[in-house]
């Protein structure tokens, strides 16, 4: 017999968890619902910690939902409580203090864990990852106690780039060290990446590519430099490790749940364990364009998966449409959007346009008549129209050239598809 029992238990309290609460409550306002999270604060917008560090927004603005959210949604919160074990047969989870919490349906929305490479010196003071609120607090406190003139960010992905931008705003000379030959390589093609690098340079961020960090040097006060495989050592009193995030599958794995890179789920977000669901960065979503399941650790997918999981936990029969990898990131004032497969494979058709001043760049990758990838740099207006065409797998052969210009709009689309879109389901014309 568990110490407490709820009809629904959600482990985790970020995007997928909140979406699950919201969709679950549209179906069932009565069932008891608990959210358990290791982090003590209410749901917050994790990507905004770089904005808070840079002083661009006040800390209060991190809140993802209004203060009365849990009360309104009739959620009992167990925040600051870590789930250490999942017992699928007993239908209960165990907290670090030994308390057992029974569930009718369980959602694992435990997110991702930043990867910390096993480099010598990685445990030195002044070396952090930067994905959670507590990371930001630690970095902020560290900056109060130690004079930091130079910082190194290891990894030139989304988190690395946004963190470097924030550090520069604080007056810290910051260098991004990227192992690949360009920044944001997962999201952007070569031209987009060059534009991003230029924006970073204009914003005061130094970038070193095709270079790995081999170790960290330290003194009694903490880290003092990063050794590179080029032989060079970059002085740094602060180092951010931003090489990536992997699904936090520990709990699921120990319970005997089927796991590959992430927790394996079906299109109803059900795991291999009865009454256990998974959503968000911890889960392997079906990637529509690649035709395979893999963790697509992006915000919109986490939300949509959480929504599907919540609805199904409450008894509805909803299928997840699948993920399309996409990112929108503004780099030192330069907006960039990338959707789908942006690096063309042999046989793909590529349409590109660049504005006269060279600032705005658009790229569309077409495979078998359908758009599979798109990049917008600078002028991103109405980029979502292309996202819609990718999602709906529309054959664009007859109007593709209308999609690359700056006058992209609903008028660029054929009449029947446009009317279907604009008039909405049920009002077919």
């Amino acid at each position: 017999m568990s110490d407490k029992r709820y009809d629904y238990v959600i482990v985790g309290n970020s995007t997928a968890a909140v979406a699950a609460v919201e969709s679950l409550r549209t179906q069932d306002m009565e069932g008891t619902l608990a959210v358990i999270s290791r982090e003590p604060q209410a749901a917050y917008c994790a990507p905004l910690i770089t904005y808070v560090l840079a002083g661009k927004i006040p800390e209060e603005q991190l809140a993802y939902r209004p203060a009365d959210f849990y009360e309104r949604m009739k959620v009992e919160t167990l925040l600051g409580a870590e789930v250490t074990e999942l017992r699928p047969e007993a239908h209960e989870v165990v907290l670090a203090d030994g308390t057992t919490i029974g569930y009718g349906k369980l959602l694992l929305a435990t997110g991702g864990t930043p990867i910390v490479p096993p480099l010598p010196g990685v445990d030195l003071a002044g070396v952090y990852t930067f994905t959670r609120y507590e990371d930001m607090c630690r970095v902020r406190e560290y900056l109060e106690h130690r004079q930091v003139n130079e910082a190194v960010v290891v990894g030139g992905g989304m988190i690395g780039v946004k963190t470097a931008e924030a550090l520069v705003k604080l007056g810290i000379k910051t260098t991004i060290v990227e192992l690949l030959d360009r920044v944001l390589a997962q999201a952007l093609d070569e031209k987009g990446s060059v534009a991003a690098r230029r924006a970073l340079a204009d914003g005061g961020v130094r970038v070193v590519t095709s270079t790995g960090a081999t170790g960290l040097g330290g003194s009694e006060v903490g880290v003092v430099g990063v050794q590179l495989d080029s032989g060079e050592t970059l002085p740094a009193q602060l180092v951010i490790m931003a090489i990536g995030v992997r699904p936090n599958t520990t709990l699921a794995q120990a319970a005997g749940c089927a796991v590959k890179r992430g927790v394996i789920v079906n299109d109803h977000m059900q795991t291999s364990l009865p009454d256990v669901y998974a959503a968000g960065d911890v889960a392997e979503g079906y990637d529509v364009l690649l035709g395979e399941s893999r963790p697509v650790a992006i915000w919109p997918s986490a939300y949509l998966q959480g929504q599907v999981a919540g609805a199904n936990m409450a008894g509805s029969d909803t299928a997840y449409e699948g993920s399309v990898a996409m990112n929108s990131i503004q780099i030192c004032g330069l907006p960039t959007i990338s959707v789908g497969l942006t690096n063309a494979a042999p046989g793909d058709e590529v349409l590109e346009s660049t504005s006269a001043n060279g600032r705005d760049y658009r790229r569309i990758v077409i495979r078998d008549g359908k758009i599979v990838g798109a990049i917008f740099v600078g002028d991103i207006d109405r980029a979502g129209i292309i996202t819609g065409l990718i999602r709906d797998a529309i054959d664009v052969s007859d109007f593709k050239h209308k999609l690359i210009g700056r006058d992209l709009g609903m008028l660029s689309l054929p009449k029947d598809y446009r009317l279907h879109q604009v008039m909405g389901p049920g009002i077919e014309v």
Binding site: E22, Y51, I57, W299, Q330, P335, I337, I385, I427
Partner: protein, 144 residues
Amino acid sequence: MKRIYAKEEHCIGCRLCEIYCILEHSGHQTLVKAFADEENRPEPACRVEEDGALSFALQCRHCEDAPCVAACIAGAMTRDPATGVVSHDKDKCVGCWSCVMMCPFGGIHIDIEKGKVVSKCDLCGGEDAPACVAHCPNEALIYE
């Protein structure tokens, strides 16, 4: 819920919908004052697209499964489950443009300098026909 629908075969491209959208959200009573107050003049949430004789006006569709709400990393885009209205909170917006990436209609208008979404249809808040519909001279916009 009631939504605004555009009838492109009726639209004459007069753009009065844009103008009355501006007036409605300007805080002024008259067009003259709304347009004289350039500094505070809002951007229209309703936009006419035009290509030769073909034109129509489009604004946020207030989708039931609004992709912009799913995508918003700042909690600025929300949908009221009771009314179905999708709202944007300018104070919470950080200008990440995830909504622009997701909106399949291009219905969200941004100002990169200001770092904010600057206009998105709010259905004029009430039960009555929104300003764009009420002032369309050719019934090319309907609210039902």
